[in-house]
């Protein structure tokens, strides 16, 4: 396994109390594999990624338990300077909004080149040449001229390509993309996603794709992990989930995608609000919003049940009634 997160716990200490953002998340990504992490805002998907990268804001954030095994080593036990050498070189991150994730006062060439200066100790001149190559590689037209431009002079899609180029610069083994297409036009979204998927195949990188867009996921992901209130509620190969979700929350997400054959009818929405992370409901965190909830859901936290998948591969669901859920669908 390239990356294995085991029972990760993260909490934020705030003035109003302790917010438990991540409560025992486990997932794994292999080389060349794409894992989509799905969930609403506040479900802990980004926080988990930040903990894996080691860029959690602490304080107030704190990792209170678990392991992050990357190429066999537990990152959480490494010293800060060792982690820093891994960041960018062996694991990299693509951010949601490239305009705010690129430094406005530096040219894109300087920022791309920085990767080589920081990690490879290259001279500024060599680094600039590599920056042009990278921009070519993500198909930015006239890269040699545009390397001297500032981020605001690029279109949204081009900027996201530059972000991708930065993350890919040192050919890392793992890329975490935090909603890489959310800030883009729908037409450009597909182009950027295709480029990312193509480069991933090229280098056999592991890709963690954090998103709340189920449309993006279906095309590119191998596996899906659905998060709710800081836990994984369902994890399965992508086709299994789309065919028959084994958790009511996943089913709610799938039912809230607009479809053409639904035209004229009201779009489904999951009732209620995401839970307050300072007061997560007892039992299953989803029970106040769940149409299938029984008494046991309000008292017992469901373990991860093994679900038999159609396509092989590990499949789990954190629902006491996963069998009923599967049956309802098919």
């Amino acid at each position: 396994m390239l990356l294995e997160v085991r029972d990760l716990h993260v909490e934020f200490r705030t003035r109003d109390g302790i917010a438990k953002a991540v409560n025992g998340v486990s997932y794994a990504v292999d080389a060349g594999e794409t894992l989509a992490v799905l969930g609403e805002s506040g479900s802990g998907k980004s926080v988990t990624a930040q903990a894996v990268m080691g860029i959690l804001d602490s304080p107030p954030g704190r990792i209170t338990g678990g392991e992050v095994l990357f190429q066999g080593r537990d990152l959480l036990t490494l010293r800060e300077d060792e982690r820093r050498r891994i960041r960018g070189a062996r694991m990299a991150m693509i951010f949601q909004d490239a305009l705010s994730a690129l430094n406005p006062v530096l040219t894109v060439g300087a920022q791309l080149g920085e990767m080589f200066v920081v990690h490879r100790g290259m001279s500024a001149k060599d680094a600039r040449a590599r920056a042009v190559e990278l921009m070519d590689r993500v198909r930015i037209p006239a890269a040699a001229q545009r390397v001297r431009d500032y981020p605001h002079q690029f279109s949204g899609g081009m900027r996201q390509r530059i972000m991708i180029a930065m993350a890919l610069a040192l050919e890392p083994a793992l890329i975490i993309a935090d909603e890489p297409t959310t800030a883009l036009d729908v037409t450009v979204q597909a182009q950027v996603m295709d480029l990312l998927a193509e480069l991933q195949r090229e280098y056999r990188m592991g890709l963690i794709l954090i998103t709340h867009d189920l449309g993006v996921v279906a095309d590119v992901a191998d596996r899906i992990a659905v998060m709710y209130a800081g836990r994984i509620v369902e994890s399965a190969p992508v086709h299994d989930i789309y065919k028959a979700p084994a958790h009511p929350y996943t089913r709610g997400l799938l039912d809230s995608i607009p479809r053409l054959d639904q035209k004229g009818r009201q779009l489904y929405a999951i009732k209620g609000l995401p839970p307050n992370l300072m007061a997560i409901p007892p039992g299953c965190a989803f029970n106040p919003r769940c149409p299938m909830a029984q008494d046991v859901c309000r008292t017992d936290v469901p373990p991860l049940y093994e679900v038999a998948g159609d396509h092989g591969g590990e499949r789990v669901s954190a629902c006491h009634f996963w069998r009923e859920c599967l049956r309802d669908r098919s």
């Binding site: 050498r85 990299a92 991150m93 951010f95 530096l106 490879r120 001229q145 930065m166 295709d194 090229e202």
Partner: protein, 326 residues
């Protein structure tokens, strides 16, 4: 490693051609519609950073042009006063005490019979030296301490913030009277040191706040995620984005330091004769204000114009660097 990576790149360019070309061209097409786009021709396509943008703004601002010319003139005469006066500020004839303007002595004479024009010209040096040195010292000390506190936060930040509170509680003139009255050296350095001591908390607060704001930007987190060290993040990603408010406040403060030097010299604890300073001249001329108002007016006028020029410059710089504050 770097040598090997050339090969997959070639491979990508090859395999990517089919699917890739139309992507690139379709986006290039949308790009061309953007005004000032990179592919656009002509001088408008030249990259503009925050700083070159600000410079363009400044050059078009008459307030900036006027104040900058005044300041340039002051800088020149404080380096080479002999350019515009041939007199010696310390060569005085008591016989000419309080005499009015005459040929060769356009500003007349003061109580000691010194040429007011010469003394006013030479007085610029003390003011400019104190103002510039105090501002540099304050800006350097304040932004380093404030910047580190803002960046690292925690205990270091708490200590610094309380310390600045203590310094803010010290009344400047009273502090000057107490601290500088025990100094015997008659150079500008005790005065500069005093101003740095009392002035740095102002800049450190600004720098701290500015760094905290900039620190929350995604590009700082992105730089960290791509493996940049703390010092690199602070110097290359945060400092250039956080420095604008510090420059603005420091420029405006420069004017007030010049005024403060004159105040302290007037009170007799700043520079002392035989140094030449506007504050000393204002102090010396005030007893004769009814008989020889010119001896008071010229150094006061020079002081007022200088302070005003620096404050206007600060305003213009602020408008250029942060249009939202206008």
């Amino acid at each position: 490693m770097p040598e090997q990576s050339h090969e997959p790149e070639g491979a990508i360019a090859g395999t990517g051609m089919g699917g890739g070309m139309d992507l690139a061209t379709s986006e290039a097409a949308t790009l061309e519609k953007t005004p000032g786009g990179p592919q656009g021709t002509g001088p408008a396509a030249k990259p503009r950073s925050l700083w070159s943008d600000a410079w363009l703004d400044l050059r078009r601002n008459p307030v900036f042009v006027v104040s900058a010319l005044v300041i340039l003139f002051l800088l020149v005469i404080s380096v080479r006063p002999s350019l515009i006066t041939s007199g010696n500020p310390l060569q005085c004839e008591l016989a000419r005490s309080q005499e009015g303007a005459r040929a060769g002595h356009p500003f007349g004479f003061d109580g000691q019979g010194c040429d007011v024009y010469t003394r006013t010209v030479y007085g610029a040096r003390a003011s400019v030296t104190v103002g510039v040195c105090a501002t540099l010292g304050v800006a350097l000390l304040g932004s380093v301490l404030g910047g580190l506190a803002g960046f690292f936060g925690g205990a270091w930040d708490a200590i610094l913030s309380r310390t600045t509170d203590v310094f803010f509680a010290i009344p400047v003139v009273l502090g000057g009277l107490v601290l500088l009255s025990v100094v015997t050296s008659n150079t500008v350095w005790p005065v500069v040191g005093f101003m740095v001591l009392l002035g740095w908390p102002q800049i450190s607060r600004i720098a701290r706040g500015s760094v905290i704001t900039v620190k929350q930007n995604d590009y700082v987190q992105a730089a960290r995620a791509l493996g940049a060290s703390n010092s690199r993040i602070l110097l290359r990603h945060i400092a250039p984005n956080a420095v604008a408010p510090v420059i603005v406040v420091a420029t405006i403060a420069l004017g007030t330091y010049i005024a403060l030097e004159a105040t302290l010299s007037y009170l007799g604890v700043g520079l002392k004769p035989p140094s030449v300073s506007w504050g000393i001249d204002i102090s010396a001329a005030s007893p004769y204000i009814r008989n020889a108002p010119h001896a008071l007016l010229w150094p006061s006028g020079a002081l007022a114009v200088t302070v005003l020029a620096f404050i206007m410059l600060g305003d213009a710089v602020r408008d250029a660097l942060d249009p939202k504050l206008r």
